[in-house]
Structure formats: C-alpha cells, structure tokens
C-alpha cells in the first residue's frame, strides 16, 4: 500500500472517532458494552463455573440482598451476582455468535439474491421465503432437540432460523443500490461481480446491517432465554436459564424480585447498549446523513 493510502486510512479512522464522540448516547452504549464484554472476559480470573454449582451454594435460599450476597441468592443459595457475572459469558457468546452467523448467511444470500437477477436470484428468494414462513422458534426448538443442547447447537439453531429477515432486508437494499448510476459506471469501468458487491453494495448495506445486527444480537439473547425457558437450555448458566430458574422455583410468588428482575435488567441493558451504539455508528458511517445534520 502506498503512503498516501495509509495516511488516508489513518485520517479516516481519526475522523470517524471524532464524529462518533459527538453522539453522547452512542458513547454511553459503547461504554456499557465495553464494560459488559470486559467483565465477561475477565470473569475466569476471579471466579469459575463452581459458582453455578447447585451444591456449592453458600448462602440462605432465596435470601434478599445483603452484605454477603449483594444481589441476593437463588433457590439453592447461590449468589445471584456471581451467577449473573458467570452467565453473562454464555449469554453474550450466544448473542454475538448467533447474530454473526445469521448476519453472514443473511448478507451473503441477500446480496446474491439482489445482485444476480435471473434464476439464481429467484431460487435464493424462494428459499428465503420458505425459511421466512417457518415458525422460527419452533424450528429452533426442534433443531436444538435433535442436535442436543450444547452452546454450539443453540447458536446454530438461532443463527439458522433468524437469517431470512436479514436476507430480505439486504436484498431490498442491494436492489436499491444497484439501481444507482454509479453501479452502471463501475460496470463500464470493467468491474466484475466481486468488485461491485464488495466495493459498492457491501459498504452501502453495512450501516443497515449494523443496525440489524445490533437488534439481532439482542433478539438472539432473548431467543436463547426463550429456548431455555421452554426447556432446551445450553446446559450452562446464562441470563436465560436464570430467568427460567426463577420461574421454576416460584420466585415471583416468593417475592424474590432480585432473582427475576436482575437477569432481566441485564438483558435490557445490553440490548439497549447495542441499539444506542448501532444508531450512532449508522449516522457516523453514512456521509449523507452527516451532511443533512449540518445543512
């Protein structure tokens, strides 16, 4: 790469960060996410999976928040705080990977369906529609039941059932982008399919993709907890399995609000952080939105 290109890249990154900082809500979202991810990553340095062991619970059963257990305990006397901390690893991992899987499948098929007119596009579109009308939760349940309840299975089950809406969205955006005259100009310059899709279509659908992925991570976390609630758990503690536990053990009737509310609050906070971050990214990455804000 020539020197000019490198200087340009660095300047672009600097400009990007300067723009991003002008969106306070985006910065808040980013900080929350960073904290959540860092906490999840460093958790093994302080605790291990034994905090989720039903027989190693040290506190009283369903004890309200106290100095020993700041966020109370569950039905087996385990610390809710430590469970949430350890469970965040599973929840975030499933959320990220399932969303990534769904995004990759959705983007590739969406762009292909929009870019290749004729029979290729038509076939992809039919397949997408077929997946779209499948009740995705039921499909995910069945898939998870057949494949067993490992974390990888849950990720695949969520990823494989949630891509069609992304594909539809990306296809529509691809069609809109490809109708622009600069695509025609690019063809005339001698561009091939790879150049058109990666240099023009992909960067144009990226902001949309980002927004849709943030929601996808959020919905994957929610789907995971739904699956756990319906009995197909990842065999590991996550915010979802904690919610199920709270229902199973009648936390609501027992008045153990900390057991229900806190995992739920974690889900809401992370989902919100993703959304704030995605919105800010979108307005920074799209130069046309940027000028409109100025003009």
């Amino acid at each position: 790469m020539s020197n000019v290109t490198w200087v340009r890249r660095r300047r672009a990154i600097g400009r990007f960060w300067a723009d991003f900082r002008t969106h306070p809500s985006g910065v808040v979202g980013l900080v929350i996410l960073a904290v959540a991810v860092v906490l999840a990553l460093v958790a093994p340095l302080f605790i291990d999976s034994s905090v989720t062991n039903v027989v190693s619970g040290t506190g009283a059963k369903m004890a309200p928040p106290s100095l020993d257990d700041p966020l109370g305990t569950d039905e087996s006397g385990r610390s809710v705080l430590l469970m949430i901390w350890w469970g965040s690893r599973t929840s975030l991992l499933i959320g990220f990977l399932a969303a990534l899987l769904s995004m990759v499948i959705g983007t590739v098929l969406g762009i292909a369906a929009g870019h290749f007119r004729g029979w290729i596009g038509a076939v992809i579109l039919r397949v997408t529609d077929w997946f779209l009308v499948l009740p995705s939760l039921v499909t995910a349940l069945v898939l998870a039941a057949i494949l067993g309840g490992s974390t990888a299975t849950i990720i695949v089950a969520i990823g494989v059932t949630s891509w069609p809406s992304t594909a539809r969205l990306i296809r529509a955006q691809t069609l809109a982008v490809e109708a622009r005259p600069y695509i025609e100009r690019s063809w005339a310059l001698g561009a091939g399919h790879w150049h058109i899709t990666t240099r023009h279509v992909l960067p144009n659908v990226a902001p949309l993709l980002l927004a849709s992925t943030t929601l996808e991570v959020a919905s994957a976390i929610v789907t995971e907890s739904t699956l756990a609630f319906l009995g197909v758990s990842a065999n590991k503690t996550s915010w979802g399995t904690m919610l199920r536990g709270s229902y199973d053990w009648g936390a609501a009737t027992a008045g153990a609000w900390w057991y229900i509310l806190l995992p739920g609050l974690c889900i809401v906070t992370v989902v919100m952080a993703f959304t704030l971050c995605g919105r800010a990214l979108e307005s920074v990455l799209n130069p046309r939105l940027r000028t409109r804000a100025h003009a």
């Binding site: 020539s2 005339a188 960067p203 144009n204």
Partner: protein
Amino acid sequence: MLEATDLHVEFSGRGSRRARAVDGVNLSVGAGEIVALVGESGCGKTTLARTLLGLERPTSGKISYDGTPLSYSGRSLRTFRRQVQLVLQDPMGSLNPRHTVYEAVAEGPRIHGLPDEEAVVSSALARAGLRPPERFFQRYPHELSGGQRQRVVIAGALALDPKVLIADEPVASLDASVRGEILSLLLRLRDDLGLSALVVTHDLGLAWNIADRIAVMYLGRIVESGPTEHVLKDPQHPYTQALLSVLPESPNRIVLTGEPPDPTRIPTGCRFHPRCQLVAAGKGTEACTTQPLQVLPATTDPQVSCHVADLVGRDRK
C-alpha cells in the same frame, strides 16, 4: 473505430409482447470524431449507447471495435472497457457518495491493475480541468459543485486512457452557465488526446455546439444522419424537420400530435407515418403505410430513411 452493425436489442416486456428498443441500427464513430445521437425519450438512444458499451447484449447484430467484433467473454470485455468509457447524465448519482474523489477516479485503474495509481489519478483529474488535483483527492462528492462532479466522472473515465467516450446527456442536469465549460472540455479532449465521443442527447443546440456528425433516432432506427451542418440546416426527414421547427427561435412550428409511440407496437410501413406531417397533409405515398424502409448503412455521408424525402431530393436535382 467503434461500430454497430445491424444491431437489434429486444426486451421482453409485460405480457408476451417484446419491446424492440433498437430495431436495426448501423452506426460508426470514427477516430477523433464527435457524433451526436439525437432523439426523444423512449426512442432507444440510451439502449443503443449501453449496447455500444457492452453493458447490454444485442439480440442480433454486432459491435466491433477497431474492426474486431466484441465478444462477451470476461477478458476481451475487460480490454474493450479500457478503450470505450462512459459519462452519465447525473454526476451526483454516478459517484458513490461514500467514496472520495481519489477513490472514484482510482476505481478504474484498480480494477485493471494499472501501475502508479496516484500519478494516473493526478493526471486524469488535471486533464479533466480539476487543478491542482491534490486539492480534490480527499473531497467527497457532496462537497463539490455539479460541474466539478461531472469533471470527476470524466476524470474517472480518462484514467483508463480510453479512445472513445460515450456520454449520455452529459450536461442535462447541470446549471446552464456550467454547461458550456463541460462541452468545451469534451472538445478540448478531442483536440488534445484525439478522443472520439458519442454524445446521446435530446438537445439539438448541444449537437450544434460540439458534434461533427448527427444521427437522428426514431423508434429504434436511425432515420437521418450526416454532418451536423447538413442535418441541422437542411433537414430532409420530416421528423428532423419537426424537431427543428419546435426550437424556440424557429418561425414555423410543426408540432407533431401525440407522443413517441410504443416500441412494442411498431407501425407497419414507415414507422413514422402515424405522426408524419407530410402523410397528414396528404403528401405521403402508398409506400409510407405499407412498405418498410431499408436500414441506413453506417456512412458519414448525409442520408435519410423516408419514402417521400427521397422523391423530394430527386425532384430537387
């Protein structure tokens, strides 16, 4: 140099009917020549231009460059693309809003893997009249004026060192006072680099401004062609006469009724006869409604495709 021979382009439209957008065209653009392709919207002039660029495949007939017929395999199409380049009507739309001027101009050289990218970009921008080029590298399209944007598009084409430019309404969306500068640029590129150009337009004034030769298109066919002075000052075809007569400064108007007819339903005989003012005035012949006309050959001499104009021409001699 760039030549279309007996070109037909059809589209399958709604229902079973096929639209014959280009219905038998012979056209050539010589080295260092500027040819204007004139017609109303829907006459097939844009389809013809896209086919000449290899963006649309002809149903039959062929495109040849320097005597070699264009084949649609990847490699030969790529070599062809370096010779024949495109300038579109809307410069804002023809530039990716996310790309800087540098990236927009470097796109062609990158696709073709040309060495010394930065020098190529600089010289292309300078030749398109954006000086000093370095000042424009980091700008985005929305930061430029309409005229500057169109210059960037032209620079993007020049970066590949083409021999022919195909410009589709290159100034139609520009401000009136900027038009002249862009047209002068096309003329200068012809003089300095020997660049040929095919300018597609509905604007006869523009053709008068820059074209050496004019081809008038009606419903998929060229109905009259020849040197600009000849066609615009002494039009032979009744359609060309009507087009010229509705220009604001002309004294006697021949306003044709109706709008350009449908390429899915091309009339029998002469395709212009339902709107022809000569036929309407009873000056037509029986051949006008029954006998199809020959496709005009690709020649630089004045020629016209009309049953009646031939007679008129003979009478004059």
